[in-house]
């Protein structure tokens, strides 16, 4: 039972929470990845507004890279159409819903924001339905 305990998942989750807490405590900002990415890409920003977002994304990639020796099976041959449809839906959805797993799920719930609680419950439920339909009926 002990070896089945997902300690890696818990440790990673705690790190993500600490990351969000650091950004809020020091910079007063929400660690929402979709918001950071889209503001950087689509909104005209002052140099200081741009630079912290860029720094966060660079950190995200470097931090991930440094931990990469974590091994797992790499998915191969997944449907390109599903990847395209997924990217479009995630992009449109997170932009008009103002957040993703990080902004609503981790930060928003932590701040006990009603919008984020509802958004998170919704995307989790719809995600479960989507995977169920995908696995049971499509294959």
């Amino acid at each position: 039972m002990l070896e089945a305990f997902p300690s890696q998942a818990l440790l990673g989750g705690v790190l993500i929470g600490i990351s969000a807490a650091v950004l809020l405590a020091f910079n007063g900002r929400i660690a929402g990845i979709s918001g950071i990415l889209y503001n950087l890409l689509f909104n005209p920003l002052s140099a200081s507004e741009r630079s912290w977002r860029l720094a966060f994304l660079v950190g995200l990639l470097v931090g991930g890279y440094l931990m990469l020796p974590v091994e797992f099976e790499l998915r191969e041959g997944y449907s390109q159409w599903l990847l395209i449809a997924s990217g479009l839906a995630v992009g449109i959805g997170t932009r008009i819903g103002n957040g993703c797993t990080s902004g609503h799920g981790v930060c928003g719930i932590g701040l006990m924001a009603g919008r984020s609680v509802v958004a998170t419950a919704t995307f989790m439920a719809i995600g479960i339905i989507t995977v169920t339909v995908l696995r049971q009926f499509i294959g």
Binding site: S19, L68, G97, N98, G110, M124, V131, L134
Partner: protein, 136 residues
């Protein structure tokens, strides 16, 4: 400069957390969402661990009048639970299920599974651009 360093550190910790927790593995994420099939519950501990920390720390952080290195807290302006939020969250849920990628892991997979990222990331950016056009 302080704020840039903090953002960099926050990003570093976030990226490390996403990899260590295996959130960056879309097979694992789809397994977590496969509640009625072969459910892999482990990722619930990612969300649980992260939310436990933000719930515990937010109340202390917000007791301060201002953040340590900034003039104010930049919180979400919107509080209403409206159709846009529901539509957006629903579309995101569909997209998340279809591939197992949400934005952070999608970005990190540029380094892990570039064959998928080269298809997913352009679509994510185009989708964000479309969503932006319909944002108030």
């Amino acid at each position: 400069m302080q704020r840039i360093i903090i953002a960099l550190i926050s990003g570093l910790i976030f990226g490390a957390g996403l990899v260590i927790s295996e959130m960056i593995n879309p097979i694992k994420v789809q397994g977590f969402l496969d509640l009625f099939g072969n459910w892999d519950a482990s990722l619930a501990f990612v969300m649980g661990g992260a939310v436990a920390v933000t719930l515990l720390t937010s109340r202390f952080i917000l007791k301060r009048k201002t953040p340590i290195f900034a003039d104010r807290f930049y919180m979400a302006v919107k509080t209403s639970i409206d159709g846009r939020l529901m539509l957006g969250a629903s579309l995101f849920g569909i997209g998340w299920g279809l591939s197992g990628y949400c934005p952070g892991p999608g970005i990190l997979n540029a380094m892990i599974n570039p064959a998928e990222a080269i298809v997913f990331l352009p679509a994510l950016i185009v989708g964000g651009w479309i969503g932006q056009r319909y944002s108030a």
